[in-house]
């Protein structure tokens, strides 16, 4: 049975250190039983920062006067070869949300390049229609990441001022369209700190996941809990989620959804990342760069990233760290097969 809002609230409000320790122990146990001591590794590649949505908290938003770039075919090869040479096999290709600058045809071209380097490709791009997801799936994309950011409609409207992202319901139904389009992996998430009612957001995310699991049981789901990071030149004030609450959210999620993946991003400081791995994390990005062309292109000197990463350790350091913690870094988690829908 689904956990209730008041139960979640009670857990987040509980300041007893023994309670937190007990929750963490339980989460660790569940993680080990269902995933063993493994951590999957992936890396993001930013293809473009063109964006037609205005989201007050994001460095890429349409009103922000930053330099806009999108990778050419040649630059894509350079970026992807670089990341692949590091040992990464799971790639997440990202763009800003611009149907004009990065239309379906551009995404397909990027996927064509990515297929030459990576066995598993996921996209975090603008929401699309079911038939577009189907085309991408058949083209070789296996996963879609789409965060609702916050499930609080009023707050959502406040921070998503214009563009397609301002349409709450179109975004909410994206996961369903992606699943119908055939996607194997779907990642949902909330941007912690956008809404001040963390329990409500968490509850609604869980409900969304529950709905998806019930209607599209064949999809492998994962959840992400990026914490808000300040963006250069923005005066956005957030409703900060402190470390204890963050840990509780990870542990609670692990115990409630034993088989669902939980991603950890480079936004977290090393001390948090290192200590939280055992408490339910199944996948982390490593050696990340959040600028367009940030791995190999000169532009990185002149460009602002989407958000500042707190953990800029090289992939080798991350692997070393995992091994030191007796965790097995998993690079290969999929072998591409021809994707077809019935």
């Amino acid at each position: 049975m689904m956990i209730s809002l008041s139960e979640i609230q009670n857990i987040l409000d509980n300041q007893n250190p023994e309670f937190l320790e007990e929750l963490a122990q339980k989460a660790k146990h569940v993680k080990e039983q269902y995933f063993g001591r493994t951590i999957s590794l992936y890396a993001p590649i930013y293809l473009s920062n063109f964006c037609s949505s205005h989201c007050t908290y994001c460095g890429f938003h349409s009103k922000n006067k930053i330099k806009r770039f999108k990778l050419t075919d040649e630059q894509m090869h350079a970026e992807m070869k670089y990341v692949s040479d590091q040992g990464i096999e799971n790639i997440l290709l990202l763009t800003g949300e611009s149907y004009k600058a990065t239309p379906l045809s551009y995404l397909k071209e990027a996927v064509d390049v990515a297929k030459q380097y990576f066995p598993s490709i996921s996209l975090e791009v603008h929401p699309m229609q079911e038939n577009e997801y189907r085309q991408l799936f058949e083209h070789g994309v296996d996963g879609i990441t789409v965060y609702q950011e916050t499930y609080d409609r009023a707050r959502y409207k406040e921070v998503h001022c214009s563009g397609v992202k301002a349409d709450y319901d179109f975004r909410l139904n994206t996961a369903e369209r992606a699943a119908k389009g055939g996607m194997r992996n779907i990642s949902l998430g909330i941007l912690l700190g956008l809404s001040d009612n963390h329990a409500q957001d968490l509850h609604d995310l869980y409900q969304h996941l529950n709905y998806m699991e019930k209607h599209f049981p064949g999809v492998e789901y994962s959840l992400s809990f990026p914490r808000f990071q300040p963006i250069k030149g923005e005066k956005f004030t957030d409703k900060h989620v402190d470390d204890k609450t963050f840990v509780k959210i990870i542990c609670l999620t692990r115990t409630l959804f034993p088989r669902v993946g939980i991603n950890l991003s480079t936004r977290e400081k090393p001390i948090i990342r290192d200590n939280i791995l055992e408490l339910g994390i199944t996948k982390m990005s490593a050696g990340s760069n959040t600028s367009v062309g940030g791995y190999t292109q000169l532009e990185k000197q002149e460009q602002d990233p989407q958000f500042d990463i707190e953990d800029d350790r090289h992939l080798d350091d991350i692997v070393e760290l995992l091994k030191k913690q007796n965790l097995d870094p998993v690079f290969t988690d999929w072998r591409r097969i021809e994707n077809t829908t019935a």
Partner: protein
């Protein structure tokens, strides 16, 4: 005393099979293979990295072990078939454990799709070991489709719950003439022994071993338990009874 287990024309003395997922490092896996003396291991094709040699799981599996590639990640028969073919093309041999799972919450196998994949792959010369929900009709169809064994689940994958499907597996043991390999949910050597005592031909375990503090030790314990259960089965041990029984309480009068 015992006869070897025959699958796909090969004979095996050891009846414990090991899964290779979830180990915290590859040397624990190699140690577990050694200590258990297992002769058949299963590896997910999705986890085999043929390009990069440092972490290639196959390097930790000795040559004399029979490799059974599994189709983990397949959501229907078509995908399972593609994965099996890819495995064979990659040099992983023609033994395939078919896993068709279209429910990521319970990881229960889809028997219908599994039957379809078995039929195609068996015709293509694969030795097919299908993972299934223990259902008599499905098992019969798998036999007709050319399966080399059937692998009914004891309980949900990774759950360590043991033989929750015991009564259904007993029916398969009684009625199905190809080897019955109990797979999934076996969380302790005692549960493996129980499956063997009731007549299963082999047991496959993974999670319990991989997540133990000392995997190699537990792998050995599993292997011994499987052997003990097998010997008990061959001994035609008596089923346990709830109360003491007098020698001939009902028919004694006939001898007076």
């Amino acid at each position: 005393m015992d006869t070897p287990l025959i699958i796909g024309g090969k004979a095996f003395a050891n009846r414990f099979m090991l899964g290779t997922g979830k180990f915290k490092n590859k040397s624990d896996l190699a140690d577990s293979i050694r200590s258990s003396k297992t002769e058949i291991v299963t590896v997910a094709l999705r986890r085999i990295d043929i390009d990069r040699h440092e972490e290639n799981i196959l390097e930790y599996i000795p040559e004399n072990i029979t490799l059974m590639t599994n189709t983990s990640g397949a959501r229907n028969a078509k995908e399972a078939i593609r994965i099996a073919r890819l495995a064979r093309e990659s040099g992983c041999g023609n033994w395939v454990k078919i896993e068709v799972i279209n429910d990521t919450k319970y990881l229960l196998p889809d028997n219908n799709e599994t039957i379809k994949a078995t039929e195609v792959l068996a015709k293509e010369g694969f030795v097919v070991l299908p993972y299934m929900s223990p259902d008599l009709y499905a098992a019969r169809e798998l036999v007709a489709a050319g399966a080399a064994t059937v692998m009914p689940l004891g309980s949900l994958i990774g759950s360590n719950q043991g033989l929750k499907t015991k009564e259904l597996i007993k029916i398969l043991i009684e009625e199905i003439d190809i080897p019955i390999v109990v797979d999934a949910g076996i969380g302790a050597p005692s549960q493996a022994a129980e499956a063997m005592e009731m007549g299963a031909d082999a047991v496959l375990a993974n999670t319990a071993v991989a997540t133990a503090e000392n995997p190699a030790l537990l792998a050995k314990a599993f292997s011994l338990a499987v052997e003990a259960g097998r010997l008990a089965y061959l001994s035609r041990l008596r089923a346990p009874q709830g109360q003491a029984s007098a020698s001939s309480p009902l028919t004694g009068f006939l001898h007076e």
